[in-house]
Symmetry: C2
Subunit: 249 residues, 2 copies
């Protein structure tokens, strides 16, 4: 049985493929302090991955403050600068390169869709050892609204020329899960961004895994069938109540 070629994977970037969430958290924290806003760090953590505009609007609503356009520019520039400084500490998450390679090997298209700006996303993609100019990459700059709006994932599906209803969105944050639901995609949550499994499931995750390596080990649970194996044989043995011999992983 051949792989269903219409299937595709749409990946979030920070916290999903690359271990960069905690650096972003501290960079946002420094940026907010630069305009005199002090927020508990966990509150910043819980907003990572959403649109920068909504991120600021939400934080300001909680603090009851208003900011000028000049202050917003300052927050964004201090964040970008601080993140760039911390980038040397950023590593790929376990299994991310292997997962993307396996999907490519199986002929399953994939793209990366991030609420981050292109400049920052390019640097993070490079941490994966990928050339940002040679992969399907959708950033904040391509769409009108970032997550939890569905636009980023819809644009990524369009870029791959696949039906959004056949895609699996993989993300580490509640905003990925919400955006996936609004886009009518199936979503998989990863714990590698530091959210709890309950938070991801409550936001609509179909399944939750630890990190890309764990998802790679469970690809069959989200509907990927390897062409290396004759699945019809597995099914007929199962129908007879017999245990099929599965190939070595």
């Amino acid at each position: 049985m051949a792989v269903d070629r219409r299937m595709a994977f749409l990946f979030d970037l920070d916290g999903t493929l690359v271990d960069s969430v905690y650096q972003h958290v501290l960079a946002w924290r420094e940026a907010l302090e630069a305009i005199g806003i002090e927020l508990s760090i966990w509150r910043i953590h819980r907003r990572i991955g959403m649109s920068g505009g909504l991120f600021l609007a939400g934080l300001l609503r909680e603090t009851g403050r208003t900011v000028t356009a000049e202050e917003i520019r300052r927050v964004q520039s201090v964040h970008a600068e601080t993140y760039r400084r911390l980038l040397s500490q950023v590593r790929p998450l376990p299994g991310s390169r292997e997962l993307l390679a396996e999907l490519s090997r199986l002929g399953i298209p994939w793209a990366i869709a991030t609420s981050g700006r292109l400049e920052s996303a390019r640097r993070t993609v490079a941490v994966l050892g990928l050339d940002p100019d040679r992969i399907p990459l959708v950033t904040r700059d391509h769409v009108h609204h970032a997550k939890p709006d569905p636009d980023l994932f819809l644009a990524a599906a369009q870029m791959l020329q696949v039906d959004i209803g056949e895609t699996i969105v993989v993300g580490d944050s509640v905003w990925d899960m919400l955006a996936a639901r609004r886009a009518r995609a199936l979503s998989v949550g990863l714990l590698s961004g530091g959210y709890g499994a309950g938070e991801l499931l409550e936001a609509g995750a179909y399944r939750v895994y630890e990190d890309p390596a764990d998802l790679l080990r469970h690809l069959d649970e989200v509907g990927v069938r390897s062409p290396d194996y004759d699945w019809s044989l597995v099914e007929s043995l199962a129908a007879e109540g017999r245990e099929p011999l599965l190939p070595e992983a």
Copy 2:
């Protein structure tokens, strides 16, 4: 109606009273890298608050590595040194000073019980504006086993001369909740350390609040009754189905 004087609060420190979890996470990360161990940051985050020995043992089990006594000393010293460097960024969590002051005003004893070492805990307590020599403080150095063993909370209850069964343990991590259950204390989880509510509830939290300020607003839910108000009147009005007028917060 007088406050029940036997009641007492036992507080965790990092992530519960002080916003220091993310700095500890990055300090442990740097320390582990110093002996060549690379771990995803969320995995380090999820072990903050537990005994340092169990922390290392757990991480090593996951990586399948062994370490020498010399390496353990090195990890601990790099962690302490890095945390000291990051301490200038550490702030009290919202409401922590007010919560402790309110308990003192109500005559309800409280203590701090942390898996951290005395040296590091003294610095963190100072961030709260408290004198570590003048408050009941139990650290890793006082007990044989840190969290999730119950020893720290048992020692804190003993220090306050209260029955552990009458105490409320307040913590931000799963290890606090587990240690509280083993000690037969009631536990309250706070989100301010970056765990999800589901993780804390699954580990046995009686209630979950955002941070110390949120707990302070809901002290009545965990059994604290203010002597400023005549609660018998509230109860008799409620029995008649009438709405009592509560004092302004």
